[in-house]
């Protein structure tokens, strides 16, 4: 096997190597190096993604590096890097003593995702799926002395494995009908409309629905988000969902063409419910991470809306939304981390008078929230709008209107935070100290949000190009 045949999987290899090195270093006690090393690995892999030749098939066609895969990989690795910026300065003992495990798990999970989005074959897909999930359980319960973290890990684990069972059950049916585990066979079989095929796909939909935390498979999310370490949650709220969406695209959209429309009712209903539940339940939350969790669920609803269009533009807009959501959501979580580090609290009250304590931090939080709320000149606005636009192309006026209304509800609870930060007086005068890496992370997200908001053109074109390859 010649070396240049490995170039297409360069990023994955880099990740793999980093993982191995990190764990070995861990074994030999050089734990402090894990974080920086991981960062290097991520950056290298990120860079590598740009060198990968598009559309390369390897491992006898089970593995494809198409535009979508590369796009997704960049998303995963990028977000992981950002979250790493957040976790670098975590002071908890576990991070001091066991940082090797933490970073190893992180890398492995990213690797799993990277494989997932490239997999063209069910077994590989399933393995990659598990490869992505299992480290997440570890990361969730990472602060193992904490009373709630393990509980969250358990819940996540139980629901997760149950859904994994559902997924593989579905896969078994798909395999049974198609007689092969290659994904390319699916559209054909769907077209024949074998009942077991539909059954299998439905099972898959449900299983992946858990991963993207769509109603009613979402219940693990808030608990997990609340208990796990914030930088990890920032990443957890973005990357696995992106992976889940890509999986959905691979299984339901790619190559199916108009045939995919049979799923439209199901997905639209899913989208609608998710939007409603997420937004409504976010209102009464007092823990900001929990609030963000529910709002995140609502955002999944919006993305599903884009997917529900089952059109090139729909997918494109969904991808754009993913990026916008990544910047906004991660930024918000990083600010939460900053506050939590200084105030030792993730409650709303920790934000009182932030604007007068450290205006820039407050401003960036405000911008992130507004972006999530879909306000012009920040990324979220375009994201929402494009998704709506894609949906309207399919004539889903009702859903779009519902979504638009719910943005108002969403703004209600986002503005509640703004109220804490800007309207209420501070309890303490001194500014909030923010560590350098955290600043950097927040800055990156800020640049992303504002940049995409001010000049979304290139991103849209990119997303459209990626989506177009799926429908050609």
């Amino acid at each position: 096997m010649s070396l240049d045949s490995l170039i297409p999987v360069g990023p994955e290899l880099l990740l793999f190597t980093t993982a191995v090195v990190v764990i070995l270093l861990g074994a030999f006690g050089a734990r402090g190096a894990a974080g920086p090393l991981t960062m290097v690995g991520f950056l290298a892999a990120f860079a590598a993604t740009f060198l990968v030749p598009e559309g390369a098939f390897v491992f006898n066609d089970q593995y494809e590096q198409d535009a979508l895969a590369i796009f997704a990989k960049q998303l995963f690795i990028g977000s992981a890097a950002i979250s790493l910026l957040g976790s670098m300065t975590m002071t908890h003992r576990a991070f001091r003593d066991r940082s090797a495990e933490y970073h190893f798990a992180l890398i492995v999970s990213v690797l799993g995702m990277s494989v997932l989005v490239s997999a063209r074959e069910l077994i590989l897909l399933f393995v990659a799926f598990e490869l992505m999930s299992i480290p997440l359980f570890l990361l969730t319960g990472f602060i193992k002395r904490d009373p709630v973290a393990p509980e969250a890990a358990l819940k996540f684990f139980l629901v997760g494995t149950a859904s994994a069972a559902i997924i593989v059950y579905g896969m078994s049916f798909v395999y049974g009908v198609t007689g092969t585990t290659m994904i390319d066979a699916i559209p054909q079989a769907l077209a024949e409309g074998h009942p077991l095929m539909m059954l299998g796909m439905a099972l898959l939909l449900a299983g992946i629905g858990f991963k993207i935390a769509a109603f009613p498979f979402h219940m693990w999310a808030p608990d997990t988000y609340e208990a796990a370490t914030t930088p990890f949650v920032a990443w957890l709220s973005v990357a696995p969902k992106a992976a889940g969406f890509v999986a959905l695209i691979r299984l339901f959209v790619e190559g199916a063409g108009e045939a995919a429309l049979v799923w439209m009712p199901a997905v639209s209903v899913l989208a609608g419910m998710t939007m409603v539940i997420g937004n409504l339940m976010a209102i009464p939350q007092q823990n900001i991470k929990r609030m963000l969790a529910y709002s995140g669920i609502a955002h999944i609803g919006y993305m599903l809306l884009g997917l529900a269009a089952f059109s090139s533009s729909g997918v494109a807009m969904m991808l754009f939304y993913l990026v916008a959501y990544m910047f906004g959501n991660m930024g918000a979580f990083l600010v939460v981390e900053a506050i939590a580090q200084s105030e030792k609290s993730e409650g709303m009250e920790a934000y009182r008078g932030l604007a007068q304590r450290s205006p820039l931090l407050a401003l960036s939080m405000l911008i992130f929230l507004l972006s999530l709320g879909g306000i012009p000149f920040v990324a979220g606005f375009w994201a929402k709008l494009y998704v709506f636009w894609a949906a309207i192309e399919r004539g889903m006026y009702g859903l779009v209107f519902l979504g638009a209304l719910l943005t108002v509800v969403a703004l209600y609870y986002y503005l509640l935070v703004a109220r804490r930060m800007y309207i209420e007086p501070p309890d303490r005068p001194e500014p909030v100290p923010v560590s350098a890496p955290l600043r950097l992370g927040i800055l990156v997200c800020l640049v992303g949000v504002v940049g995409m908001g001010a000049y979304p053109g290139p991103w849209v074109t990119l997303a459209q190009r990626v989506a177009a390859t799926l429908f050609s």
Binding site: F59, R98, E101, F104, G112, V127, L131, I134, L138
Partner: protein
């Protein structure tokens, strides 16, 4: 009734019965033992399907591995508690309804369309084929599987170790 059919029915009854026992029995130990039985029954089904290798794997890994771990876990937790863990169910009716409906749906879907009644004749050595496939066609997932198990075990270690 052909011997095949007879065997299938016997196994089916055993399997379903033990499965029910697993989820319903009051004593966790018994539940685990019932699980062992269920898994063995599954191995039987595999044999019936002429997948001897898998049957073996089933017995070793599952009936061996899982049950051992379970028992271990129970022993640990029980020792810590000090009295045998009795195990009851909650929301039986709601759960039963939902699940029954689920089963009903799936089964009806399955029976909507009669599938090929008879299996084609077995050709070649399945065990060998499996091995070949794993080592050639499915080498990538296999490698990843290794990584996955590593990660999983490390996670298990991380959680279970009583240190720090």
């Amino acid at each position: 009734m052909t011997p095949d059919a007879l065997a299938f029915w016997v196994l089916a009854v055993v399997l379903v019965g033990s499965a029910l026992a697993v989820v319903l029995s009051k004593n966790l130990f018994h539940a685990v033992l019932w699980l062992a039985l269920a898994l063995t029954g599954t191995a039987g089904v595999f044999l019936l399907l002429e997948a001897e290798f898998l049957a073996a794997v089933q017995l070793l890994l599952y009936a061996g591995g899982i049950v051992t771990i379970m028992v271990f876990a129970i022993v640990v937790t029980e020792r810590l508690v000090g009295e045998s863990i009795s195990q009851t169910n909650r929301r039986i009716v709601a759960g039963a309804l939902a699940v029954a409906a689920l089963a009903g749906t799936i089964v009806t879907t399955i029976w909507r369309q009669p599938l090929d009644a008879a299996a084609p004749a077995q050709t070649g050595d399945i065990t060998r084929n499996i091995g070949l496939a794993v080592m050639t066609r499915y080498v990538l997932p296999f490698e990843l599987l290794a990584l996955l198990m590593l990660a999983g075990l490390m996670g298990a270690l991380y959680f279970a170790r009583p240190d720090d």
